[in-house]
Amino acid sequence: MSYLEYKVKTVPSGLRKVLYLNWALILLIAAAAGFGFLMLYSVAGGTMDPWADPQMKRFALGLVLMLIVAFVPIWFWRNMAALAYGVSMLLLLAVEFMGSVGMGAQRWIDLGFMRLQPSELTKITLVMILAAYYDWLDIKKVSRPLFVMLPLLLIALPMALVLRQPDLGTALLLAAGGGTMMFLAGVSWIYFAAVIALGGGAVAAVLMSRGTPWQLLKDYQFRRIDTFLDPASDPLGAGYHITQSKIALGSGGWTGRGFMQGTQSRLNFLPEKHTDFIFTTLAEEFGFLGGISLLSLYALIVVLCFVSGLRNRDRFASLLTLGLGTTFFLFFAVNMSMVMGLAPVVGVPLPLISYGGSAMLVLLVAFGLVQSAHIHRPR
């Protein structure tokens, strides 16, 4: 019995696939998104406009997309990985030439019905291509320099394009996501040690480039680093976001100030209260208990992804599931670290909750891939 025959015979087919969906995961996702609708309703001052309503419609659309992706066999997606990666690179290039400028950076393409952020898409396609690459690569060769160079190039290309926008946060997330894939595939520890050393050197170089003609980051990015290191130095200027964010979080206390009672968000002391800083509103209004509930939801989603990935004996499916789970982890970990003053302010939204179309749709498509891997796993 060939390998292919083995798989075809043991996977469910047709409508039976519905029964094999990872329903727990879907429920957790819906619960997290529900938190999001509640918060968007609250920060809009108790109305569905202008955020909660579009967000719910996008979530519904995303769920449909997720199911479509889930029902398509995982080996189809493995075969599509290279194409998806290529398309996302083209879109990134397109942003370079015809993208709109928002918040000081070129980030999206206006498709008419929605604004597409190719950098969001890239976070998924990079994981896909790397999973397919290591699925193809002989396990004995993963640590050979030539076969380490190839995935590094695959990671470096979108990073370079994203940095041109410039979007430091996404670039770092891509690096972290790509690195995770290489780590999972079994690339030798020595490379990671070398990268960490090099990374330290790069950080030093970036910091030292400040004020010189070959400055590597924009001034606002340097200021964000300063602010992160000492938010109190400029409480009304660059440190304002962090200071107000911590005040909102801290004033929530154990149980919060009550739904729609958060003064920091209601009176506009919080910046970007419906996007990157939405977690502070949640923590202000529902307190420590609300915050820890959301964190637990997120952790459970990641755990489900890992359980599914680790139990999957198909190499591509396993790597993809673990990679996407880690990508999801990186999203919320970076966002929460940022609003709690543990990391510099980089524009990373809170997954499933922050207002934004691309992020929501891409994330649900990614969960579709996880579901597909789950349904079509070898048995």
Binding site: I247, G250, F269, M340
Partner: protein
């Protein structure tokens, strides 16, 4: 692609190992996030809650209503009047230019004000109200209110501002308020936060300034919620302030008005005092000014007109002005001599018109002299030579002691600005201040109230009241503060009864007997007759050359070199109620310039209104009647029925 099973197992094992490591790292990081969340939200919650409250809550002060000032009958002298202004909110107005143009059709706005409002609107946040016009008439505000639908963003507001309904009558008593200056803030030890409120007004002059702490009251506070850009969202709570205390003065608004009118355009001061308790019933200073102009912010031309007027409208002459008392000082010298037994009432002094002493010639005001003069005659006819003679006998120490006993040379503590202390000279004073020894000529000059002696009209009024009552009355201007009566102080003075009776008899003669210096200003009504004393004090030296050629008459001199005219009196002479002092700067003679004013003011006080002509000698009635008719008097005011704090 086909793979050996072993490879697949190897791969799966490796992925599992690395996946577990990664998963463990992630669990660890989630733990870190949870710990951080707990740190911020549980351990530091109180601190951040406080910061959040500070963010959103602003405390604003509510200015208290200033205490009102009333006269002795409860007529308001200083009140808080509603003050209308119109303000505009840019974001509500939409088309600012269009709305401003419409406002200008209803209210006359100077272009400068429009420009200022426009600039302020551009500078401030769009939701901040900007004042377009202040102190509008009710009709103008009503016009704006009626047209409100066509004037989006424009609203009328009501505030309180100080108003002095009796205008110039009490300018030097009640004073005025004005905006807090940097100097005020510097001067105050513990500045009330109220003073920081824009346009807050504090007392600048007179009772308003001296009783500032009682009148001001205590600020209320309101807590308001603001958003990140400072827009007021709602008022959380408010604590109303405590209004300032009301002050009741001893003055009578009708008498004060009559006094001011009677002095007319003269540069003069008049004080009417109750001889028994020291209550000041009127304290006029002429010319005066309208204190309301200072509340609004006086214009430069108006202010210059006040400061450049040679009759000094801004000076509160009754307490700030110092004059040589002249002949009104003679009662002091006479009493000092009588008390010491240094003069016999029957004894006469020969007055040839001058006295030669210490190599100088001291002149009597009457060149031909008074002949034989007794004590009564000396006061009645105001003989100078008599007082040269007895002043030398009594000596300056005893004269000064008597002067101070009668209230001269002492600072009487009234809540008024710039109270002058005056001067009753002593030998040590001259040595200390002038570096020269006291000479007998100084004593002779002091004997007729010239030389170093200086007194304010207030001090002369106290002296007259003490002569009239034989009590050490202390002037009282504040009858009560917040309903608490100010104590009266009038202990017996203990002058020798015979001496005092003699002086009073002489003062009666001055204004009731032929050849008395104020006989022309006598009162005909038997029960109201006054006892007084004229005074004419020189403001220049008369040279020997001038004496030889004949002394200039006052009318021939420029105004500011003429003599000051003084008159002190009390009435009724046999049962004194009121003492009056009139000083007319550069008025000429006390008998002609000051005494008639004193007579009319005393009669007004005794009658409680414009005196009937029957009080005057029949021959003067027509002339006086015409004069009284020509005075522009204010209709009597009604006491404020409610002490409205508005």
């Amino acid at each position: 692609m086909k793979r050996p099973g072993r490879d697949t197992e190897e791969s799966t094992r490796r992925i599992s190992r690395r996946g577990l490591i990664l998963g463990a790292a992630q669990v660890g990081f989630v733990g870190l996030l949870a710990a951080r969340m707990r740190h911020l939200q549980v351990n530091q919650a109180d601190q951040f809650r406080l910061l959040a409250e500070e963010n959103r809550i602003n405390i604003r002060l509510i200015p208290p209503a200033r205490g009102l000032i009333f006269d002795r009958n409860g007529v308001a002298l200083a009140e808080n009047r509603q003050n209308y202004r119109i303000v505009m909110v840019r974001e509500e107005a939409g088309d600012v230019d269009e709305v401003l143009a419409r406002v200008q059709k209803l209210v006359a706005l100077p272009p400068a004000d429009i420009e200022r409002a426009r600039r302020e609107m551009a500078r401030r946040s769009p939701f901040v109200p900007v004042t377009l016009a202040d102190r509008l008439e009710w009709e103008e505000v009503a016009a704006v209110a009626v047209n409100a639908p066509a004037l989006p963003g424009v609203t009328a507001e009501v505030g309180l501002s100080r108003h002095y309904p009796l205008q110039s009558d009490f300018a030097h008593v009640v004073g005025y308020v004005g905006p807090v200056s940097d100097y005020d803030l510097e001067r105050l030890e513990d500045p009330d936060p109220l003073l920081q409120i824009p346009n807050f007004q504090i007392g600048k002059y007179g009772v308003e300034a001296k009783l500032e702490t009682r009148l001001r009251g205590q600020a209320g506070t309101k807590r308001i919620e603001v958003n990140a850009v400072g827009r007021v969202m709602r008022e959380l709570d408010r604590k109303d302030g405590i209004p300032g205390d009301d002050v009741q003065l001893t003055v009578d608004h009708g008498l004060q008005n009559f006094t001011q009118a009677r002095m007319g355009a003269e540069s003069a001061a008049t004080i009417v005092m109750d001889v028994n308790n020291g209550d000041i019933l009127a304290m006029g200073s002429s010319p005066s000014f309208d204190p309301n102009k200072f509340v609004r912010g006086i214009s430069v031309p108006d202010y210059r007109a006040l400061t450049e007027n040679e009759r000094r409208p801004l000076a509160g002459k009754p307490v700030q002005g110092l004059y040589p008392p002249g002949s009104t000082f003679k009662m002091v010298v006479a009493l000092a001599a009588l008390e010491e037994g240094l003069v016999d009432p029957e004894e006469t002094v020969w007055c040839p018109g001058h006295l030669d002493r210490a190599g100088r010639r001291f002149h009597c005001w009457r060149r031909g002299g008074h002949g034989h003069v007794s004590l009564i005659d000396s006061i009645k006819q105001s003989c100078d030579v008599y007082y040269y003679d007895i002043a030398e006998r009594v000596g300056i120490d005893k004269i000064t002691a008597m002067a101070q006993r009668l209230g001269l040379g002492l600072r009487h503590d009234l809540p008024l600005s710039g109270i002058a202390e005056g001067l009753t000279p002593t030998k040590s004073w001259k040595e200390r201040r002038r570096g020269a020894a006291w000479v007998v000529g100084d004593t002779l000059n002091a004997g007729i109230g010239q030389g170093f002696v200086l007194a304010s009209p207030l001090q002369l009024a106290v002296m007259t009241a003490r002569l009239a009552s034989d009590r050490a009355v202390v002037p009282r201007l504040v009858k009560s503060v917040d309903g608490v009566e100010t104590p009266v102080s009038a202990p017996p003075l203990g002058l020798q009864p015979e001496a005092l009776a003699l002086v009073r008899q002489a003062m009666f003669a001055v204004s009731n007997e032929r050849r008395g210096t104020a006989y022309g200003s006598r009162i005909d009504a038997e029960a109201l007759r006054m006892a007084g004393k004229t005074g004419t004090s020189q403001v220049r030296n008369i040279t020997t050359e001038e004496r030889r050629q004949g002394v200039f008459r006052n009318e021939d001199l420029p105004w500011n070199r003429r003599d000051h005219a003084l008159f002190v009196a009390f009435a009724p002479h046999d049962a004194p109620r009121y003492a009056v002092t009139v000083v007319v700067e550069h008025g000429g003679g006390g008998s002609t310039a000051a005494a008639p004013i004193a007579r009319d003011v005393l009669l007004y006080a005794l009658h409680g209104g414009v005196p009937p002509l029957e009080s005057y000698p029949s021959g003067q009635r027509r002339e006086i009647g015409d004069m009284l008719d020509s005075l522009e008097l204010r209709a009597p005011q009604r006491p404020s029925p409610v002490r409205s704090r508005a």
